[in-house]
Symmetry: C2
Subunit: 336 residues, 2 copies
Amino acid sequence: MAPTRVALVGAAGQTGSSIVEGLLEAGDQFSIVALTRPSSITKPANGNLKDRGVEIRSFDLSGPEEPLVEALRDIDVLICAIAATDQEAQIPLATAAKKAQVKRFVPCAFITVAPPGRMMLRDWKEDIYNHIKRIHLPYTIIDVGWWYQISYPRLPSGKIDYVAMNVPTLIGDGNVPSALTDLRDIGRYVAKIVVDERTLNKYFLAYDELLTPNQVVEELERLSGDTIPREYLSEQTLREKIETASKLYETDLSQAFLKASAEYMLSWGINGDNTPDNAKYLGYLTCKELYPDFQSISYTSYLQEVLDGEAKPVYEDNEEIRSLTISLRESMDGKA
Amino acid sequence: MAPTRVALVGAAGQTGSSIVEGLLEAGDQFSIVALTRPSSITKPANGNLKDRGVEIRSFDLSGPEEPLVEALRDIDVLICAIAATDQEAQIPLATAAKKAQVKRFVPCAFITVAPPGRMMLRDWKEDIYNHIKRIHLPYTIIDVGWWYQISYPRLPSGKIDYVAMNVPTLIGDGNVPSALTDLRDIGRYVAKIVVDERTLNKYFLAYDELLTPNQVVEELERLSGDTIPREYLSEQTLREKIETASKLYETDLSQAFLKASAEYMLSWGINGDNTPDNAKYLGYLTCKELYPDFQSISYTSYLQEVLDGEAKPVYEDNEEIRSLTISLRESMDGKA
């Protein structure tokens, strides 16, 4: 069988990198095209991808439509994994994909499960989903829960500061379960989903484990032998954060990030949106039903990597997000 | 088995009446409650329902929440079929249903299939659907295509003026298929859907036949022996109507109706949204898969009733809608 030709926008990002790895791991099943801004073609990251068999193709999403359509003519599956704030760029992308008769578009979802009207970040995506539906473009929307990599607190010893993002972990009473996924598993799920006819024109939740924040902290304590101080962030604090940030964010990017972060925490930590049961209620298929034999990375083994000093930090090259996360932590401190 | 207790808001309307008939036809399977404005309790229509075994229960949607919750405590299935312009009243209704632990809410859908962002009327409903999803209320959204009763043109002889709504029939080139349903079948579908576990938390399209406007006109000519002049309404005319009406409708109700009507025609007549294939693409189940043995009223037999002088006009008691329809016709005349 001829390989499925998959094109990816955002191959260099956190999610995009995982997707490239997942597709490469599947071997001859895929031929992979990284659609790349003309100005980025010569970046070292693209050289590395090229060495591994990925075709680097110039693609200017801010340019005219016709070259976009031409660049997509031979593509079976188009996947988009771009920054949260760039979602609108998918309008011309989807329109070009429709004209090029792409067989499946995987828009930039890749977040936690939530209904419309709950989180600004998700509502930006909803606008894209609705555009896709209006032009009748075949699609699969893939959400992935919350990453293992940003799910746990630091240890008092400082031992895991090299990798822990240090975002608040204990939301509400810490007992609301939430779907968690190792960032590295995302691409391996995607490689299965995009060639599966059952997932066409469907929403899909790919996740590894369903855990409460209290379970996360207890597991980290068990593995490390440390005692972690409990700092619970209340619903009221989150709501106040969201309200304050909503007023300020249009002129201050760090406020947008704060608003989005607090909305995430309220959604998965208080409302309980990010569960397989809620996903099914909202019409999603899930990986546990479709791929029961998938060998996912366990949460315990990931934490052990962290403790062994072998985990890889996320957003390592993204100074903006790393500094925003620090400001998030500071703004939340003492507010629990 | 104990009967399923179904409560209905809007039992006196066009869709509501069909639903009551459908539930009554199913016999002992249902016990039916008509939730009625306190000021309407003594209306003759409610007296008639009471004589047929329907419980009339006072229900003030504009009042406080607690009595709403109390009135819904014993209800299994809550169905809402209210005016297009009253959709917002479903926010407190859904919230009360959640608190009363209603097992299934059927919000006021009952229109053609279309994606979000295509029609103002549908987008008002989308806001309700999203509220339902945020409060995790079990639901079924039932769309029904376009009614047989408003689907055909008048005859030059005037013979069917007693019943024909005379809205434009031939949209675009008249070749786009659209799902059509006899208004009387809606309730019979609803009676099946609301007790079917497969339809829980799903979108559902109930329709009788898939026909193009040209097929409609040809069938009416064949049965009547008359020749019907072809007046095709172009996409451009519809788009101009929508644009003009959009600017004026906030201060002029007839413009809102005109905008909504033109958007309907553009959606089913040009975009081809109102088909079973598109419904499936959008995630709907359809009656042809789930109820293949359903004895629907055929379009031909309905037209024969019309020609035999035995059809019943719709909106007979609703002077407002009938006069708006006349103004719609006048505004479209000569614009084809």
